[in-house]
């Protein structure tokens, strides 16, 4: 059953559909929340909140605007960043590594089996990130994965705010080009993959 059918069942109030979506996306959601918060307890709360939000207001997801997975993970990201900022306000966090990369050797119990499409997308976005110039990658990682605001990034890197902004935009543009190239042919496979021609010419 595809995501949209499951979404329709969630909308109709069928909890088993929510559980099926959980089975599908909880590992992505938890991995993301863990990376942003760096805290397994917070990350669990974030994941639970996101799935509950889907349950409570399924119509907040608009199928015309992209796949359910993207929407759900954006929600997870948003809440994870909120949690980090809330926590940061409450107490001065011990300086943690700027990047909580997953341990090189993962516990085999943690290993997640995913469908081929998701794994392929993952590979592509990682490659695109790895292909960014280091200074661009840094602002993206600080913003997206560490939940820092652009003024915070500017003061931490001791560069002007305007530089952070242009660097961020340049990075996003490059990421898109990198992900778009090989992605194009494959977009048709799920029909909604987010590729749309035009609107963003390379300048």
């Amino acid at each position: 059953m595809d995501d949209l059918a499951l979404h329709a069942r969630v909308q109709a109030g069928d909890p088993s559909a929510l559980e099926e979506l959980y089975g599908r996306y909880a590992p992505s959601a938890f991995g993301l929340a863990l990376r942003v918060t760096g805290d397994a307890t917070l990350a669990q709360d974030v994941v639970q909140d996101a799935f509950l939000a889907l349950w409570d207001r399924p119509r907040a997801f608009d199928p015309d605007r992209g796949p359910l997975r993207t929407w759900l993970l954006a929600l997870v990201h948003h809440r994870a960043v909120d949690a980090v900022r809330r926590e940061a306000r409450l107490r001065e966090r011990a300086t943690r590594a700027a990047n909580l990369e997953p341990p090189a050797v993962e516990d085999p119990a943690d290993e997640v089996v995913e469908d081929a499409d998701l794994a392929e997308r993952r590979r592509r976005v990682r490659e695109a990130l790895a292909g960014l110039p280091a200074d661009q990658r840094r602002v993206i990682e600080m913003a997206y994965f560490d939940g820092k605001t652009q003024p915070e990034i500017a003061s931490e890197l001791k560069i002007p705010l305007g530089t952070v902004k242009t660097r961020t935009f340049a990075a996003m543009r490059r990421l898109r080009a990198a992900m778009e190239g090989p992605a194009r042919a494959e977009v048709a496979s799920d029909g909604r993959a987010g590729g749309r021609a035009g609107g963003w010419e390379d300048a």
């Binding site: 109030g13 909890p15 559980e19 959980y22 909880a26 590992p27 992505s28 959601a29 938890f30 991995g31 863990l34 990376r35 942003v36 990350a43 669990q44 994941v47 639970q48 799935f51 509950l52 349950w55 409570d56 207001r57 608009d62 605007r65 992209g66 993207t70 993970l73 954006a74 997870v76 990201h77 948003h78 997953p102 119990a109 943690d110 290993e111 997640v112 998701l118 997308r121 993952r122 976005v125 990682r126 993206i140 913003a143 997206y144 994965f145 605001t149 652009q150 705010l161 902004k165 961020t168 935009f169 996003m172 990421l175 898109r176 992900m179 987010g194 590729g195 749309r196 609107g199 963003w200």
Partner: protein, 234 residues
């Protein structure tokens, strides 16, 4: 802002990384510039899809086994609450009715106020309204310091704002639909202490000319609109 098509602003926006000042600028930009600029709307969508894919750069991790049963219990609790109080508590929202504002409009031109047409959402739900604003077919209209946003095909719309002044002590804001046939009373609302207001209205705005916000003495009968404050109608 010197650059009318501020794409860099949109990039920070989709990453959720703007500072407070730029955040406000972005919201204004989405509201005022994007509805009329196809190129920026397309850029926003592209940026959004890039940001969406970034989520996949984090390694997937199996969540603790206890999380699913926890989620299941939370869903069951909500199912019970839902039966008790339809469509309200489940969403973690505050019904305007709970504020005591939803009386019956006696003999008013708009007829009877129907409970539940107006829902005041907590400030953290502002993103729902903003998400609608970013839709390519969305229409945004100013309602004083707030914004009304709607889109074709939806049976609800939003009125939201971030700098709505608190009503003077002893008075309340009331929201009305304005149409050729008269007014329909929706209920009272109150800005959060920081001035944020997020209202969801269960009505098709196409059937009405707009909304009207009035300032009225607390506890007075909402028989017809009192002192008009702001309106999106003509």
């Amino acid at each position: 802002m010197s650059d009318p098509h501020d794409e860099a602003l949109l990039a920070g926006y989709v990453l959720g990384a703007l500072g407070p000042e730029d955040e406000r600028a972005a919201e204004r930009h989405l509201r005022e510039h994007l509805p009329g600029c196809a190129s920026c709307r397309a850029t926003l969508e592209e940026l959004r899809s890039v940001a969406g894919e970034l989520a996949l750069a984090a390694a997937p991790r199996r969540p603790p086994a206890l999380l699913l049963p926890r989620l299941r219990r939370a869903v069951e609790r909500r199912a019970r609450t839902r039966r008790l109080r339809p469509a309200s508590v489940a969403a973690g929202v505050v019904l305007a009715a709970a504020l005591g504002g939803l009386g019956i409009v006696r003999g008013g031109p708009g007829g009877v106020a129907e409970a539940g047409l107006l829902t005041q959402l907590s400030p953290e739900h502002l993103d729902q309204a903003l998400a609608l604003t970013a839709r390519t077919d969305a229409q945004a209209v100013a309602v004083g310091p707030a914004t009304e946003v709607h889109a074709p095909g939806l049976d609800h719309f939003y009125v939201f704002g971030r700098d709505v002044p608190l009503p003077p002590p002893g008075s309340v804001y009331r929201l009305w639909l304005v149409g050729a046939a008269g007014y329909r009373y929706l209920g009272e609302f109150r800005p959060a202490p920081d001035g944020t207001v997020v209202l969801r209205i269960e009505a098709q705005p196409q059937a009405w000319d707009g909304v009207l916000v009035t300032l009225e003495p607390a506890g007075s009968a909402p028989s017809e609109p009192g002192r008009p404050m702001w309106s999106s109608a003509g």
